[in-house]
């Protein structure tokens, strides 16, 4: 691959702006979206790019999120490159179409700005919207900072539209913490992005819904055909793991930024203990790790970048042989002891070479995961490694939950 760096430029922009600019750089044919806090800025930015002629796409300002997903699904099946963005209730309102998009193997790319979805209208952060839709059959990627939002959106097109994959991809990032965070972001030149995405043009053409071509999409699958399609869907999801790792490598060659694919490992090699996290909390965790390392604490971080398909092989490889693992969840799994990611990782416990696992629940509904909180998590993980008695689940910012199980 030609690695000539065509000039990029660094600008201080919000996470939402990074998503919008990345979408613009990908040159989608059709964008459809509906506003919701904290995603609104994404669609506003795209609208202004569209109005100024900077973005030559069909922009559909729909009457609700359900239509946004339906419109981009159809446009994608017709052969177009598409983009949409939502969050929270918006994601929930498009849910039936989210499922249909996955089942139709439509390579839709969207960003979901994580926000809580409980009964009280929580205009606040949390990954529960992502968890509620995790088995919709989409590829889920999670960004840590504004730069990664930009990079993941670009990588998503390569993944979604790859001839061997053809699946929708959702890029998640923490609402409020990242949506409105301004950071220096390196914005690549259009030519470089074009070069990165050009690989897709050399691939075989996927089937497209075109006038007169006698193609049917979305049949009634009741007999064996349905099982066949579901199996193909699952295997395509599995393939996306290695593909994502490879795309990350190629991205590094062109843009000089690499994250490690499915997982980013931070100081894990010689670590006895590891925290597993995702999204914006990882920045905080890394800075605490740096401090702890100076004190000789051998702690590392595994950051989950690809959440669906669940990167269990990569996680087992990264975590095997560690003494203790603390999994930090920004969401809940009802009826389980521990958060959703923790619960999923537990299924592979026997493959982890005796590593002990604990669950930390924090950062729900805008509760900040502070450095103090992370220090507490590291301390508890260290205690676990030392064979001390540590509770399986700790609600870090709500100590009452750890004592009072009988509350109403």
């Amino acid at each position: 691959m030609n690695t000539t760096a065509i000039s990029s430029n660094i600008q201080v922009i919000t996470g939402n702006a990074a998503a919008a600019i990345a979408a613009k750089l990908a040159r989608p044919d059709v964008v459809a979206a509906y506003p919701i806090t904290p995603q609104t800025e994404v669609i506003e930015q795209i609208s202004s790019f569209h109005a100024s002629g900077e973005m030559d796409c069909e922009l559909i300002t729909v009457e609700g999120e359900n239509s946004a997903m339906n419109a981009v699904m159809a446009a994608s099946l017709a052969g177009g490159r598409v983009f949409t963005a939502s969050s929270s209730w918006g994601l929930v309102f498009m849910y039936d179409a989210v499922l249909a998009t996955a089942g139709a193997r439509a390579p839709v790319v969207m960003v979901n700005v994580n926000r809580e979805t409980p009964g009280i209208i929580a205009v606040s952060s949390g990954q529960q919207d992502m968890i509620s839709t995790r088995d919709a059959g989409w590829i889920f990627l999670i960004a840590e900072n504004c730069q990664e939002i930009m990079d993941l959106v670009l990588q998503s097109y390569r993944l979604a539209e790859d001839y061997d994959i053809q699946l929708p991809v959702m890029v998640h990032y923490d609402g409020f913490f990242l949506s409105y965070l301004s950071e220096g972001v390196e914005i690549p030149a259009q030519e470089t992005v074009d070069q990165f995405l050009s690989v897709l043009e050399s691939q075989p053409k996927r089937t497209m819904l075109r006038p007169g071509e006698k193609l049917g999409v979305g049949t009634h699958g009741i007999l064996g055909g349905y099982m066949e399609l579901r199996h193909k869907h699952v295997t395509a999801m599995e393939r996306s793991k290695a593909k994502f790792d490879a795309i990350d490598q190629e991205f590094a060659d062109i843009f000089s930024r690499s994250y490690g694919g499915q997982l980013e490992e931070y100081l894990t090699e010689d670590a006895d203990m590891v925290l597993v996290g995702s999204g914006s909390m990882c920045g905080t965790i890394k800075s605490v790790i740096d401090e702890q390392r100076e004190k000789g604490v051998r702690i590392g971080l595994v950051k989950i970048r690809m959440y669906r398909p669940f990167p269990h092989q990569a996680l087992v490889k990264a975590l095997k042989g560690k003494k203790a693992i603390g999994v930090v969840d920004r969401s809940l799994a009802f009826g389980f002891d521990g958060g959703p990611i923790y619960t999923e990782l537990k299924a592979f416990e026997t493959k982890l070479g005796g590593a002990k696992l604990v669950s930390f629940i924090d950062g729900i509904a805008n509760t900040d995961i502070t450095k103090t909180n992370v220090k507490q998590m590291i301390q508890m993980t260290a205690d676990l490694a030392d064979g001390k008695d540590v509770p399986e689940v700790t609600w870090v910012s709500y100590p009452k939950a750890n004592k009072d199980k009988g509350e109403k």
Partner: protein, 319 residues
């Protein structure tokens, strides 16, 4: 008389320029109005239309099963909630890619008037260039004959049954056609199977008008199974629906309503209702409520066509 009928038929045949893309036998009930309509559409519009459809009575035939299809059209089988948004996505992409197209979004009244109304309305506001055809069988037939927003007053369905307290639907039906015309879209029309020439003309008008934006056809399509009617009476039911003003035939360009068939001396609604069982239980007083509703709607339509003829929609708001 025979000669006269033959002449009428030949005229309709003139509109049937294309082959029937559907296989000869398909799994509809005998006399199903929607089947007749579904076969008619591509024969008039051509076989290069892209047709979309939702879970409904039309689904088993429109959507095919597994790898097999009952027809040779390009189609998109979709969800009840988002059909018009799917069609929007298609036409917008075709526009961007410069691909000529006729997208026909073909749905039952349950999809159009009820659960999918939001996105139908949105597509009308944005004037998306496709043809939405609602076949109105006045209920959710595929799930076993439940009430919809277009089920008429008094009719029994499985969710508005005849009981000691409630006797059929006790709400009036919604007028989907007028609702859509009031969006001032390029073309709106009502049609039915007793007036095929009128239907064909309207389909062709819509095909042309969709170059300027959204088109909506509201087609009255009896369901012998759900209505308790003789399958042989489907066309007669349509005829009586028109003659009683129960389902008037009109069209509207940019909201300007014009009758395409004027009924000089409308028959009482009972000459329509007596053709099916769903109204069997109604007393004269109940039938009068339905009759009043029919007259109210006719009056409203007449008033609207006069008003609309007098008003001028700003040119900028037309496209």
């Amino acid at each position: 008389m025979a000669e006269k009928n033959k002449g009428r038929l030949t005229k309709v045949l003139d509109y049937l320029k294309y082959d029937d893309p559907f296989s000869k036998g398909v799994s509809f009930c005998p006399g199903c109005g929607l089947e007749l309509l579904l076969r008619f559409i591509p024969r008039v519009l051509g076989n290069d239309i892209i047709i979309t459809g939702t879970p409904s009575c039309s689904a088993p035939v429109l959507l095919g099963q597994n790898k097999q299809s009952w027809h040779t059209l390009s189609y998109f089988g979709t969800l009840m909630t988002g059909a018009a948004a799917n069609a929007t996505g298609l036409v917008r992409y075709y526009k961007k890619a410069g691909i000529d197209n006729t997208v026909v979004c073909f749905n039952g009244d349950g999809t159009a008037n009820d659960i999918g109304f939001g996105n139908l309305s949105g597509a009308a506001e944005r004037n998306e260039p496709f043809i939405y055809i609602c076949y109105d069988n006045e209920g959710y037939m595929n799930t076993g004959i439940q009430k919809s927003g277009t089920t008429p007053y008094g009719a029994t369905t499985t969710t508005t049954p005849y009981g000691t307290v409630h006797k059929g639907k006790n709400l009036r039906r919604m007028n989907l056609g007028v609702k859509m015309a009031m969006n001032k879209i390029p073309y709106t029309a009502t049609a039915t199977l007793s007036d095929l020439e009128d239907l064909a003309k309207k389909l062709l008008k819509a095909k042309k008008a969709k170059e300027r934006g959204f088109c909506f056809l509201h087609v009255f399509a009896p369901c012998p199974t759900g209505w308790g009617a003789n399958p042989a009476d489907t066309i007669e039911i349509c005829r009586q629906a028109v003659k009683t003003n129960y389902f008037p035939l009109w069209e509207a360009e940019n909201g300007k309503i014009r009758m395409t068939k004027t009924v000089k001396k409308p028959k009482p609604v009972s000459s329509y209702t007596k053709l099916m069982k769903k109204f069997n239980h109604m007393t004269d007083a109940d039938l009068q409520i339905l009759q009043d509703d029919v007259e109210y709607e006719t009056c409203l339509l007449g008033g609207l066509s006069v008003l609309e003829a007098e008003c001028q929609l700003p040119v900028s708001a037309q496209d």
